[in-house]
């Protein structure tokens, strides 16, 4: 018997990029779920071949606007590893600050602008302005903090050219940094209060199932967003150079984003994975919120990713004042320009939505081979599985909100399809 298509989310709205959801049934049961990605093929890995390492970092940052910092950061790290570039401590700390700015921008955008409207059955954050004025205004000013801090280090809110191999073009002044240190204290209070509000929202439980998680394991044993090894919920740990073993990328016909599996099973990366695997290393108020809200449900329900992102954003605000003090105490340094001509290097950073791998082979400062694996390419298989579990339950109940509920799962993952959510249509045949 042919599969019958029951639910068709033509385009997912409120995500970054273009994708949709198709649910097929057979004999009254959900047969398969396809999250199709029709964002056209851009083939960045092919087009960077023959480009210089400096041209490469400008190009790969443009894979994604929301995680432009993570892409540029991962690319610079992999190239510096390949060519044995050692950057001074001040540069390393400025890069942490740059990365935290992106976390604030991305997590606030996702939780407040993209995910929150679902919980109030609204079309957008702007539509919530008359009824939830304070929350919307708070989101706008908090995101502005993130984008302005990105601009300070990046040169622009999106695709800035200031972060270079070996250092930063322009280093911010102490006065500029002081402003962001002061403001971080104010926003820490705001997001902490919002976490309490989020904690009261009912979290749907229709999609629960077991899965696997992965994230970078920071070498200093602290919480953080980069590492030389990857930690897996199975208890295993691998060096980032083994990334192909962890992702096993494959092409599927319904998506221009590739897919990944580990041990032949889907897995999840992102804020939820990080808090499940290394959340006990959080400090300060972020740790208090984690202890208060973390429970075993997080391991079976991706919708908790929203709360995990809020806790990470709080952690970033808490880190920034101390980090800025450390940066100010160090002398400015020149951009490192003396490095090898050839080499191979792989780096992983945690983008806001999960582990991001950049791997290069370089000859005469030109890219010979590039391999980039994005978080979304890693977790799409798991999104399909969670949607399948949910669709079985919701269709059995004849739930009137099925499309919205399925979209909420996809949105909770914060997919960066360079993607977006358009409409979900229910096609009953």
């Amino acid at each position: 018997m042919m599969s019958e298509k029951i639910i068709s989310v033509d385009v997912l709205a409120r995500v970054e990029g273009d994708g949709g959801i198709q649910v097929y049934t057979k004999d009254g049961k959900v047969d398969k779920v396809l999250v199709d990605i029709f964002e056209g093929p851009r083939m960045i890995e092919a087009l960077v071949r023959g480009k210089t390492i400096h041209e490469n970092i400008s190009l790969v940052a443009r894979i994604c606007a929301i995680c432009t910092v993570s892409h540029r950061n991962a690319s610079i790290s992999a190239i510096e590893k390949a060519l044995k570039v050692k950057v001074p401590e001040k540069t390393q700390l400025l890069r942490h600050l740059w990365h935290y700015a992106e976390y604030i921008e991305s997590h606030v955008l996702h939780v407040y602008y993209l995910a929150l409207p679902d919980f109030f059955k609204q079309a957008s954050a702007i539509a919530m302005l008359p009824t939830h004025t304070d929350t919307v205004v708070e989101a706008v000013v908090m995101k502005k903090y993130g984008t302005e801090l990105m601009k300070l280090l990046h040169g622009r809110k999106i695709h800035g050219e200031n972060a270079l191999i070996g250092g930063f073009g322009r280093v911010p002044t102490d006065e500029e940094l002081d402003y962001f240190a002061e403001k971080a204290v104010e926003f820490k209070e705001k997001i902490s209060a919002f976490i309490e509000v989020w904690g009261t929202l009912p979290i749907p439980d229709y999609c629960e199932r077991e899965t696997q998680f992965m994230c970078c394991n920071p070498a200093n044993g602290k919480f953080g967003f980069e590492g030389e090894t990857i930690l897996i919920s199975t208890g295993e740990e691998y060096p980032v150079e083994d990334y192909k073993k962890l992702t096993n990328e494959r092409v599927v016909e319904h998506s221009y984003a590739k897919r990944s599996k580990y041990n032949d099973k889907p897995f999840t990366v992102g804020a939820l994975a990080r808090l499940i695997l290394i959340g006990d290393r959080l400090t300060g108020e972020a740790k208090e919120k984690f202890d208060k809200y973390y429970n075993d449900k997080w391991k079976v329900n991706p919708i908790y990713n929203n709360m995990a992102q809020l806790i990470e954003a709080l952690w970033c605000f808490e880190q920034i004042p101390g980090l800025i003090d450390q940066i100010k105490a160090l002398p400015d340094s020149e951009i490192v320009t003396n490095y090898e001509m050839d080499g191979k290097g792989t780096a992983a950073v945690e983008a806001p939505r999960g582990t991001l791998y950049h791997s290069y082979e370089i000859k005469d400062h030109k890219i010979v081979h590039a391999d980039i694996i994005t978080p979304t390419a890693q977790f799409l298989d798991d999104v399909e599985e969670f949607i399948k579990t949910a669709a079985e339950k919701l269709l059995a109940e004849d739930n009137p909100d099925t499309e919205l509920q399925l979209e909420m799962i996809a949105r909770a993952y914060d997919p960066c399809i360079s993607c977006s959510c358009h409409m979900v249509k229910l096609v009953k045949q």
Binding site: D36, Y256, S418
Partner: protein
């Protein structure tokens, strides 16, 4: 042009790219509420759900066209819109993924990225068949272009404000190099360092040189660009001709491609 009798209906549509131009709108935090209230934003799928449109006064279209499915959707948008604005370098020039008419290289890239057993796999009708990336004016009539990777609000707001007021915007007249002078910056080229400011369309307020880093050309070519002289200068400061042309082509799209071939 449409006439302002009511708030204009606006749609923001996205094709292949990084979604940076839609995001640049969301990143205009100070103007965000004005953006969403000064017009009737009927379609903006990165920001809102529940949308279906029969007609829009103004369509802002981001991204290059990379599949036949996107091409069909683009043609639908043209039918529904009075004014179509290409938003960002992917839509205006094809973006970093632009390949010109080089079909052979397109096949090679597809094979390299998606190839299996030496063949390009078939993609389902859900996602459409791949085609070489092109800017939207190759397929439909475009009324205005706002380049940038991503767009800058210094350029976007004046043009958009005129459009939603029923007025005809004027083209942005300067290359980055002039804006850089307005900012009072020192010149990279005069110090023997690479910069594409003289041949790149302005509208960004020379944000990169003002920050102390050279212009990489992300707004595409300025209409009156003197490529010959630019290449000469780049060779003089130590680049090879090949290096210079490759840098010019990073964001240059068709206009630069034709100019470099001597066909314009």
């Amino acid at each position: 042009m449409w006439k302002r009798e009511k708030k204009p209906v606006v749609g923001v549509f996205g094709f292949s790219g990084c979604a940076g131009d839609q995001l640049a709108i969301l990143h205009m935090e100070d103007e965000l509420v004005d953006f969403f209230t000064s017009a009737d934003i009927k379609f903006f799928h990165m920001a809102q759900s529940h949308q279906e449109v029969e007609h829009v006064d103004i369509a802002l279209v981001e991204g290059s066209i990379n599949t036949d499915k996107q091409l069909a959707e683009l043609k639908e948008i043209r039918k529904k819109a009075d004014i179509v604005v290409a938003l960002g370098t992917c839509a205006t020039h094809g973006g970093i993924q632009y390949l010109g008419d080089n079909e052979k290289e397109f096949e090679e890239r597809m094979l390299l990225v998606y190839g299996k057993d030496g063949k390009i796999p078939e993609f389902s009708e859900l996602v459409g068949n791949p085609i070489p990336a092109k800017p939207i004016h190759k397929f439909i009539e475009v009324d205005f272009s706002i380049p940038g990777c991503p767009i800058a609000k210094e350029n976007f707001i004046p043009i958009y404000t005129k459009l939603i007021s029923g007025l005809k915007p004027s083209k942005y007249p300067y290359p980055v190099c002039i804006e850089c002078k307005f900012q009072g910056n020192d010149c990279f080229l005069l110090h023997g360092e690479y910069c594409l400011g003289p041949v790149t369309a302005g509208g960004c307020d020379a944000c990169c040189p003002t920050f102390g880093v050279p212009c990489v050309g992300c707004f595409g070519a300025y209409e009156g660009a003197n490529f010959e002289s630019m290449i000469e200068k780049l060779i003089e400061i130590g680049l090879t001709e090949e290096d210079a042309k490759r840098k010019l082509m990073m964001f240059g799209g068709e206009a630069t491609e034709l100019a470099l071939k001597g066909e314009k």
